[in-house]
């Protein structure tokens, strides 16, 4: 798209990107931002942290701090959000160099629009949208947005919490690609999306009941969850695994009368 117009030297946070998104960054070589240009372990530019790992091997094993994976990484997005929308940031966490922001559902659209439209951020690409279910929590449902900026080449994860039955605001107006993602989250988690143009099941059959990716949903499914179609009735013997057969092998041979014999 407009990428050619962008200045070639990548925006202010190349070290962040390199440290954060490079190929599995070793915990030792990781705190690039914390101690910039440690003389031995600073290989050639463009991708400092992600350079051939052999080069960064000699880095002395730093004394185990709290948790190297949880190290914060500098993120322009979070800095700007702290300035512009300080009250919308409920929580900021990091894992393996990826920043995660939790925002209140009511302010989601505002935050996402800010992230998409701000000239320094330009999160124009909704990479992924999905739901999650934490049955123990007070607000058990979660929606996760993985944003990416093609011109700026950085990532951000945004999360909201939802109570049971609460609808998340639909982001189809911001990124049309959210359409099917939201349908999938609705289908598999039962998360509603207010303002979605066509919220139907997408992966499961239309007449399915229940939402399979919820934690209480059993792996093999509830028997009554979908409409039983008429048996085709060609096979005389219907073999069926019983519960024990899931673990072992003794399937049981069950002779069932299938259909009315007309099929």
């Amino acid at each position: 798209m407009a990428d050619d117009k962008e200045p070639k030297p990548p925006s202010p946070e190349p070290p962040a990107r390199a440290a954060g998104e490079g190929a599995a960054v070793p915990p030792a070589a990781k705190p690039e931002a914390a101690k910039p240009a440690a003389p031995p372990a600073a290989p050639a530019p463009p991708a400092a942290g992600a350079a051939p790992p052999a080069a960064s091997a000699p880095a002395p094993p730093a004394p185990p701090k709290a948790d190297p994976l949880k190290e914060p990484v500098p993120s322009r997005a979070i800095d700007l959000m702290r300035q512009a929308l300080p009250d919308a940031l409920l929580e900021v966490t990091y894992h393996a160099g990826q920043a995660l922001v939790r925002v209140p559902p009511l302010r989601l659209l505002e935050v996402l629009r800010f992230l998409r439209d701000h000239a320094d951020l330009r999160f124009d690409y909704l990479s992924n949208l999905t739901g999650m279910h934490w049955p123990k929590k007070e607000r058990p449902l979660e929606v996760v947005y993985h944003l990416y900026s093609i011109p700026r080449r950085h990532r951000l994860t945004v999360k909201i919490d939802l109570a049971e039955g609460e609808a998340a605001p639909s982001v189809t107006g911001l990124w049309p690609t959210a359409d099917w993602h939201e349908r999938e989250a609705f289908d598999l988690f039962g998360i509603g999306f207010a303002g979605h143009p066509d919220l139907r099941r997408i992966l499961m059959p239309d007449e399915w009941s229940g939402h399979p990716l919820r934690k209480e949903y059993p792996l093999e499914g509830n028997p009554g969850d979908h409409v039983q179609y008429r048996d085709v009735g060609t096979a005389e013997h219907v073999y069926r695994y019983d519960k024990a057969a899931i673990r072992g092998f003794g399937w049981k041979k069950e002779v069932e009368k299938t259909g009315t014999g007309k099929g």
């Binding site: 073999y239 899931i246 673990r247 072992g248 092998f249 399937w251």
Partner: protein, 166 residues
């Protein structure tokens, strides 16, 4: 260096006109198919002749005894059973009478569930020759479901790979 805009064959009025009138590219296509008739065929008549399998080919997992001294390799550690993602391995073991280690009582693989992923070979402790191995059997059709459960005797009849690892 990093991006390259592809525009396809560059237009040139004269050459394109000649091409259009003489149908040149159509002849080129015909020539290609004609040329390929003189290449050796690559398909084989499967049941009559079979392709050569590479040594690492992963067919149905089987069990083996030591090829030289015929000893039982499996030490009934249940590791393959543990890592199997499809839960298709079923092992029954008992304590050895002399008190040291365990001994197989039965070893079953359910080929109906097996996805031939080879994860069971990975942790097998009897290195270098693993007790469970991916054989070169790949014709696994059967008429009865019972035929897919291979018990110990059937498991030992596998086709060994042509060379051992290591």
């Amino acid at each position: 260096m990093s991006d390259k805009v592809i525009r396809g064959p560059r237009p040139s009025p004269v050459r394109d006109a000649v091409r259009t009138i003489l149908l040149l590219e159509l002849w080129v296509g015909l020539w290609t198919t004609l040329k390929n008739q003189f290449r050796p065929h690559i398909t084989v008549e499967y049941p009559r002749e079979t392709v050569e399998l590479s040594p690492r080919f992963r067919g149905m997992p089987r069990l083996r005894f030591h090829p030289e001294n015929g000893e039982e390799l499996c030490i009934a550690c249940h590791l393959c059973e543990t890592v199997c993602p499809d839960e298709c391995i079923h092992i029954v073991s008992e304590k050895k009478p002399d008190g040291k280690g365990k001994r197989l009582v039965s070893f079953q693989i359910n080929y109906e569930r097996c996805c031939l992923c080879g994860l069971c070979v990975d942790p097998c402790p009897t290195k270098p020759l693993t007790a469970i191995y991916m054989s070169h059997d790949y014709e696994m059709a059967d008429f009865r479901r019972e035929g897919f459960v291979a018990a110990l005797p059937a498991l030992l009849e596998g086709v060994e790979p042509r060379e051992y690892k290591e």
